[in-house]
C-alpha cells in the first residue's frame, strides 16, 4: 500500500510538473549530459516451465499426479531498488545503465491424497510453495525520448544480465484440496535456503516505457520495464541435492523454467555537471 501511495504521489508530481512546464515553455538540453540517480519499485514475476520434474513416481496403484499449478503473474509480487546512470548521446537518445537489487517471487501449488482403507479417513494435503530469489540485475539500455520538453515520454530497450544473490523457500499447507491455501490460516514450514538450487547467472532482454519530468536540478521518472531471461533458472546438477530438506517429506523438486518479470518503478536522478549553474533548461523558441 505504501508503494502504491508513493506511485500516486509521484504521478501527481509528474502531472503537476507537466502543467507547470507547459506553462513556462522550457525545453530540456540533455545532450552530452550524465545523470545519476536512485530507483525503486515493485515487480511481478512470471514462470515459463520448460521441463517437468517430480519426486513422487506414479504407479498403477497411485492416484496422485504430482502436477504443479503455478500462480498467475499478478500474484508473484516482488520489489527492487537500485542506481541509475545515463549518458545522453543526442538530445533524444541516451544510454542507460540501471544496476539494481531485485527480489522476485514465484509460487506454485501441489496437492496429494492417500486413502485410509481402515478408518475411512483419507489424508489430503495441499501445499503452496513460495520461493523468493534475490539477484543483482545489470541492465544496459538505449533510451529514446519523444520530446525535449520538461515532460518527456520515452521508450527504452536493451539487454541485461543478473547474478543470483540468495534464494529462500517456505511451504504453506492445509489438509483440504480446494485449489487454495489460505496463508493466514495454513500451517507453514520454516524458511529454507534455496540458494544452491538456483543458477548463479542469467541473461536476457528488457524493454520498457516511461515518462520523465525534468526540473533544473533533478528529474523524476515513472517507468515500467519487461524482462525476459533466456537462461535456465534451476541448477540441474543440484536439483535433487535437497538443500531445503523438503524433497522427501513434502515431495518437492523444482521444475526447470525461464523467468520473466515486469516492474513499475520511480527514479530520481540528478544531472552531473562541472559548472555551478547547471543550465539544462533553455527557453523554448516556440
Amino acid at each position: 500500500m505504501k508503494l502504491n501511495r508513493l506511485f500516486f504521489i509521484a504521478a501527481t508530481l509528474l502531472g503537476s510538473g507537466t502543467i507547470h512546464a507547459q506553462g513556462k515553455g522550457y525545453t530540456v538540453h540533455r545532450q552530452n549530459k550524465v545523470y545519476l540517480g536512485i530507483s525503486g519499485g515493485m515487480n511481478f514475476t512470471g514462470i515459463s516451465p520448460t521441463e517437468d520434474y517430480r519426486v513422487l513416481e506414479s504407479t498403477p496403484q497411485s492416484t496422485n499426479t504430482s502436477e504443479k499449478t503455478y500462480e498467475k503473474f499478478g500474484e508473484n509480487k516482488g520489489s527492487q531498488y537500485g542506481l541509475y546512470m545515463s549518458y545522453s548521446i543526442t538530445k533524444k537518445l541516451s544510454v542507460v545503465f540501471q544496476p539494481n537489487f531485485q527480489t522476485n517471487s514465484f509460487n506454485y501449488r501441489t496437492s496429494y491424497m492417500w486413502q485410509d482403507t481402515v478408518n475411512s479417513s483419507d489424508y489430503s494435503i495441499e501445499m503452496m510453495h513460495q520461493q523468493k530469489v534475490s539477484s543483482v540485475y545489470l541492465p544496459l539500455l538505449a533510451r529514446y525520448d519523444f520530446a525535449v520538453t520538461q515532460f518527456s515520454p520515452y521508450v527504452q530497450g536493451g539487454i541485461y544480465t543478473s547474478i543470483r544473490h540468495h534464494a529462500r523457500k517456505n511451504i504453506y499447507y492445509d489438509n483440504v484440496i480446494d485449489e487454495e491455501v489460505d496463508k493466514e490460516k495454513a500451517d507453514q514450514t520454516g524458511d529454507a535456503d534455496l540458494t544452491q538450487h538456483i543458477n548463479k547467472g542469467n541473461f536476457g532482454i528488457t524493454a520498457g516505457a516511461g515518462i520523465t519530468y525534468f526540473s533544473n536540478y533533478f528529474a523524476i521518472s515513472l517507468e515500467s520495464n519487461f524482462r525476459y531471461g533466456f537462461g535456465k533458472i534451476v541448477n540441474d546438477k543440484n536439483r535433487y541435492a535437497d538443500y531445503t530438506g523438503y524433497s522427501v517429506q513434502y515431495l518437492d523438486v523444482l521444475d526447470q523454467f525461464k523467468m520473466f518479470n515486469m516492474d513499475i518503478q520511480l527514479t530520481f536522478m540528478f544531472p552531473i555537471d562541472n559548472s555551478i549553474t547547471l543550465g539544462i533548461l533553455k527557453k523554448s523558441r516556440y
Partner: protein, 393 residues
C-alpha cells in the same frame, strides 16, 4: 564519456558470461524418487536392489502389509516401469536378491507352512516363477551369494537352532547344512522381525576374503552372536553378544581375517573399518575394538559395501543419524582411515535398506521414506559420480 559506456559494456559482458555457463546434467545423474501407492495404510519396507536381468534398470524387492512381497522394476533414471505384488502365500522375502547366471532370485517363506521358497523374477512376464521349496527350512532370515556358494540362514522353531544351508548352483536343492543351538525360544523376536512389528534384527552371512570361513550373524547360545563356520558349515568360533543387547550389525570382508565392521551395544553404535578377527576364538563382540558413533541411531540398519570412486575402492558405511539423516562414511580400506562423510536429507525419517553402485559411477540408495510424516514408501536416492568424488576430495 566513451570510457563510461565502455566500462558499462565490459561489466555487462563479464557478468553475462556467468549466465551462459553450460550445465550438462542428465536426468539419470542424480535424483530422488518416491514410489506412490494411493493406499495410505500400506506400509512399505524396501529390502534389496540389484541390476535388472536385461541391464536396462534395477529390480527392487520390498515388504508391504507386514510380510507380503512386492517386486518393482525401475529404469536408470529411477522412473517406474512395473511392479508385481506376489500372491499372499509367498511372504517374508529375506534381504539380498540373489543373482545367478544373470537372473534374479528371491528367497521367501510360505505364509502357513513357514517353509522356504526360491522364486525366480521373470522380467518378461513381470511375475515370479517358483524354482524350488525346502519344507525342512523354516523361517528363512537371510541369503548370501559368496560368488562360489549360496548360503541360506534360518531359524528352526522346533529345535531352537539357527541353521545355515548351502544351496546347489541351480538353487533347487540343499547341498550341505549346519546349525548352532540357541537353547531358548526366540520365535517371538523372529516373528516381530519378519512382520515388521518390532525391531529389525541384523542377520547376515558373509565370508572371509579367501572364503575359508563363513561368518553368520544370528542367535546362538542365549545371545545374538557372530558365528564363524568352517567351509563344511561346522562351528569354528564365535563373538558372543551380551544376551540380545550387543552384537555385530554389519561386516564386509577385507584381506585375511580382517573385516570392516559395525557393532552395537545397547544404545550405541561402533565402527571399526579394519577389525582383525579370529575365526576360531570364543570371545564377546564388545571386546572388538571400535570407535563409538554417538550421532548414529543403533536401531536403524548399517550397510557396509565396497564403493569405487575415481579408481580407488573404499569401504562405504551407510547409516542413519539420530536426527534422521543418512550418513555415508568412506574409509580407506587398508588403514581404515576415514576419508570423507556425506549427510543426506534433513530431518526426514529415512531408513537405508540397500545400496548399489551404478554403471555411470554413481550410487543408488534404496530407502524407506516416511513422507508427510506418516506414510512409509519405497524411495530411491541417486548420487552422481561427481557427488561421490566430492566426498573424498
Amino acid at each position: 564519456m566513451k570510457q563510461f559506456i565502455y566500462c558499462i559494456l565490459i561489466l555487462v559482458a563479464v557478468f553475462g558470461s556467468a549466465g551462459c555457463k553450460k550445465n550438462d546434467a542428465k536426468p539419470e545423474d542424480a535424483f530422488i524418487k518416491v514410489y506412490d501407492d494411493s493406499n495410505g495404510n500400506k506400509h512399505f519396507h524396501p529390502l534389496g536392489i540389484t541390476t535388472s536381468e536385461s541391464g536396462d534398470g534395477y529390480i527392487t524387492v520390498s515388504a508391504f502389509d507386514g510380510w507380503r512381497i512386492q517386486i518393482m522394476k525401475i529404469n536408470n533414471a529411477g522412473e517406474f516401469q512395473w511392479n508385481y505384488e506376489l500372491p499372499s502365500n509367498y511372504v517374508n522375502a529375506v534381504p539380498n536378491i540373489i543373482k545367478k547366471n544373470g537372473q534374479n532370485y528371491i528367497i521367501c517363506m510360505d505364509a502357513v507352512g513357514l517353509f522356504t521358497y526360491v522364486l525366480k523374477i521373470d522380467e518378461a512376464t513381470q511375475a515370479t516363477v517358483e524354482v524350488s521349496s525346502f519344507s525342512d527350512v523354516l523361517y528363512p532370515t537371510y541369503v548370501y551369494n559368496s560368488g562360489q556358494h549360496i548360503y541360506l540362514q534360518n531359524y528352526d522353531r522346533m529345535s531352537f537352532e539357527t541353521g545355515i544351508h548351502e544351496l546347489s548352483g541351480d538353487l533347487t536343492s540343499v547341498q550341505n547344512s549346519g546349525s548352532v543351538n540357541i537353547f531358548t525360544d526366540v520365535e517371538e523376536q523372529i516373528v516381530e522381525h519378519i512382520t515388521y512389528t518390532g525391531d529389525r534384527i541384523p542377520f547376515f552371512i558373509s565370508t572371509t576374503q579367501s572364503q575359508n570361513y563363513i561368518v553368520m550373524n544370528g542367535y546362538y547360545n542365549y545371545s545374538f552372536s557372530m558365528i564363524f563356520l568352517n567351509p563344511d558349515l561346522s562351528f569354528a568360533g564365535v563373538y558372543n553378544g551380551e544376551g540380545f543387547n550387543t552384537g555385530a550389525t554389519a561386516i564386509s570382508p577385507l584381506n585375511g581375517n580382517n573385516f570392516a565392521l559395525a557393532r552395537f551395544s545397547y544404545d550405541n553404535l561402533y565402527f571399526n573399518p579394519n577389525a582383525a578377527l579370529t575365526p576360531t576364538t570364543i570371545d564377546i563382540a564388545s571386546s572388538i575394538p571400535a570407535q563409538g558413533q554417538s550421532e548414529l541411531d543403533p536401531k536403524k540398519p548399517v550397510l557396509i559395501k565396497d564403493l569405487s570412486i575415481s579408481g580407488t575402492t573404499y569401504k562405504a558405511y551407510l547409516s542413519s543419524t539420530r536426527s534422521n539423516q543418512l550418513l555415508i562414511s568412506l574409509y580407506e580400506p587398508s588403514g581404515g582411515t576415514l576419508v570423507g562423510k556425506k549427510y543426506l536429507g534433513k530431518n526426514i525419517p529415512v531408513v537405508a535398506s540397500d545400496f548399489i553402485q551404478t554403471e555411470d559411477g554413481g550410487l543408488n540408495i534404496l530407502v524407506q521414506a516416511k513422507i508427510m510424516g506418516s506414510i512409509d514408501r519405497i524411495a530411491l536416492m541417486k548420487l552422481s559420480k561427481e557427488q561421490l568424488e566430492a566426498i573424498v576430495e
